[in-house]
Symmetry: C2
């Protein structure tokens, strides 16, 4: 009687949430310190202290009617101007405030963009491993998602497979670099090759294929690695951003969509974005945190903690014999499971209270996601258990 589709979706329980809930139960039995929960991508580094200072400052500076009132739908103009300016400074861009549309986080950014772009029969393509919510979002907004199998040796893009998947119905390609779940950052070469392919295919099919760059992890990147600013490489890029990870504000739901004026059909696209935000009920991005984001847009939480965790875990596991592409950013490691069936491997890991997520959820079987946004101590204590687990497999 209620929506069959929505009830059916609920029965496909989130694997990540199930593991997390198992961990919560398990903690009651063996104690919190003995459960190594690597399931959730919830930032463990606190927001920079400036965030709370800004909140208080803003409350003191503005009247309540002003700070808690509606903003115009794309967001407070001075907020958008500040963010445009910051992007211009950092990435040598030329954004104006009207190119920035403030949103209720990355999930909102993506939904709004999919709704803004999608006509009947439109398809989107993403690259495994990929964030599984893309499937829900694209479908909810009337499109179809196709997935390019992972290049498991590099987690860059298998261009041949991608090329074969592009059809006259392809409206956009979704990329996510630094990547959840594998932490890999696309190289400049990868992006240039991707841009060339999309230009060729756009020409072939006589319509633009948009590149949707989902980049909540853009600022979480480690020594020696550069995250290219994608619009420099492919002009028809729509940037979907969130402050959830960089400022450790995932609960506050604040982000933006950025579109340069060079993007094909800029005017219609911006109109469609505004309409999409409207019909989906995203009246305006939360008003206080719009202002907080503007004031803190050049900051991040203490990334060095994640880098330390990455090094400890990557070095530890590879030394034990695990196979893993070294992540350049985000806070995930995505090693191969020690048997073909990652689900079965994760079950074995559970015996040691190591809670990992099978790569199957991310369109990449045979691997496991380890979220290392945890206390460094958790990793130190988990390493001997990873070693015992490896020994079970004779490694």
């Amino acid at each position: 009687m209620v929506s069959k589709e929505m009830v059916a979706l609920a029965s496909k329980r989130s694997v990540i949430r199930e593991i997390y809930e198992y961990g919560q139960q398990r903690q009651l039995i063996v104690g919190k310190e003995n459960v190594y929960d690597f399931s959730l991508g919830n930032p463990s580094v606190p927001a920079p202290k400036e965030v709370n200072l800004c909140v208080k400052e803003i409350l003191d500076q503005y009247s309540a009617v002003e700070v808690h009132g509606y903003t115009v739908a794309p967001g407070d103009p001075s907020v958008r101007e500040t963010i445009a300016h910051s992007l211009n400074q950092r990435f040598q861009m030329d954004y104006k405030k009207e190119d920035i549309f403030m949103t209720t986080g990355a999930a909102a950014s993506l939904n709004i963009v999919f709704r803004a772009l999608t006509n009947p029969k439109d398809e989107f393509v993403t690259i495994a491993p990929f964030f599984p919510e893309y499937q829900c979002f694209v479908t909810a907004q009337g499109g179809t998602l196709k997935v390019v199998p992972a290049d498991i040796d590099t987690f860059q893009i298998n261009m041949e497979a991608l090329e074969n998947m592009i059809t006259p119905n392809t409206k956009g390609i979704i990329i996510n670099s630094p990547n959840n779940p594998c932490g890999v950052v696309y190289s400049k070469e990868t992006l240039v090759e991707l841009a060339n392919l999309l230009k060729k295919k756009s020409q072939e099919y006589q319509h633009t294929i948009y590149l949707i760059s989902d980049e909540p992890y853009r600022e979480i990147v480690y020594q020696g690695v550069t995250v290219e600013y994608v619009p420099h490489i492919y002009k028809d890029t729509i940037v979907c951003y969130s402050y959830s990870k960089s400022l450790s504000l995932p609960g506050e739901r604040i982000g933006y969509i950025a579109v340069t004026k060079e993007v094909e059909e800029y005017d219609d696209l911006m109109k469609a974005i505004a309409s999409a935000a409207r019909v989906l009920g995203y009246v305006n991005a939360p008003s206080l945190f719009q202002r907080v984001a503007a004031r803190c847009c050049d900051m991040t939480g203490d990334i060095s903690i994640y880098e330390k965790n990455r090094n400890l875990l990557y070095d530890g596991l590879t030394k034990m014999g695990y196979t893993c592409v070294k992540p350049g950013g985000a806070f995930y490691l995505f090693p191969r499971a020690l048997e073909e069936d990652a689900v079965s491997f994760c079950e074995k890991a559970k015996k040691y209270d190591l809670l990992l997520v099978p790569g199957d959820s991310f369109g990449c079987p045979g691997h496991v996601r380890i979220s290392y946004c945890v206390d460094t101590k958790t990793i130190e204590n988990a390493l001997p258990l990873f070693e015992k687990l490896a020994k079970e497999y004779g490694i």
Copy 2:
């Protein structure tokens, strides 16, 4: 190329926004104090001072990771418990925390509910005058909206017209009392009659017709008027609430959906609500303001200001000869235009810099909406102009 539907929607400009923007321009020419902008429903009363105090308290009490982190999708459990308790105390209900689903404001509540309920071909019915965004939201979530013409003498419900509009495809009825745009509160008699009709029709068609009660103005109600708590009168009611108006927090986007366990298919409905919130990208309601809402859920802004404005405007206009149903709540007056064509009437009013919204936007031609969430002084100064306008019509 981008979504045709979304671009087309953008071309249908919001009448309210156009009037507001005209007013902003006009202020530059004749001065802010000489423009009587009654177009927007933006609360003019500040949030209770406790709101900002709570924000600061919460930031000081909790760690940043806790307060700005993800909450579970339905919202922080203790927040939901507090809100359930408050509803139980105030309306003699028996909500538990699992019956409350925190949302990013009323627009989100409604979109989530429509998506959760709608199967192909489903229809929803609302009663004119009605909030025009219902049309966008229902359509965006796959349903069709039908509108019962207004009973312009009372703005209660024309039951016969409603009965004729209910079909085997009717999934739900949307009501909004106190009403935007007319400020009328449905009487107990109206609601009982509505409930009886829906019970009869549910039985006739052998499926439940849900009542979606959109009640952001529930607490904005004046002396001598009672807003019934709808689930007492019709058990299959889904309450969609927002703190935008009661706490004057429209920019912060915080509200909830409340469903009693007596509602038909409760389990599936709650699952579908969670799925709908997920696919629409509403990861969780803004985390800090979830906690603020819980701490302030028994408060409101200073309603007496709106009541004073209502009295001044209603008494003033009716004395001049305007015809108007007396509003019992919200902050809107919806008098008849002094000629058949409300659009033309609003154009005439513009000569006096009185900015009113034609009722056509709300499915009720021949009327105008006056939003009196403005300074009392604005109303005092506008009254002589309303009198001049009436004189033009020989009244």
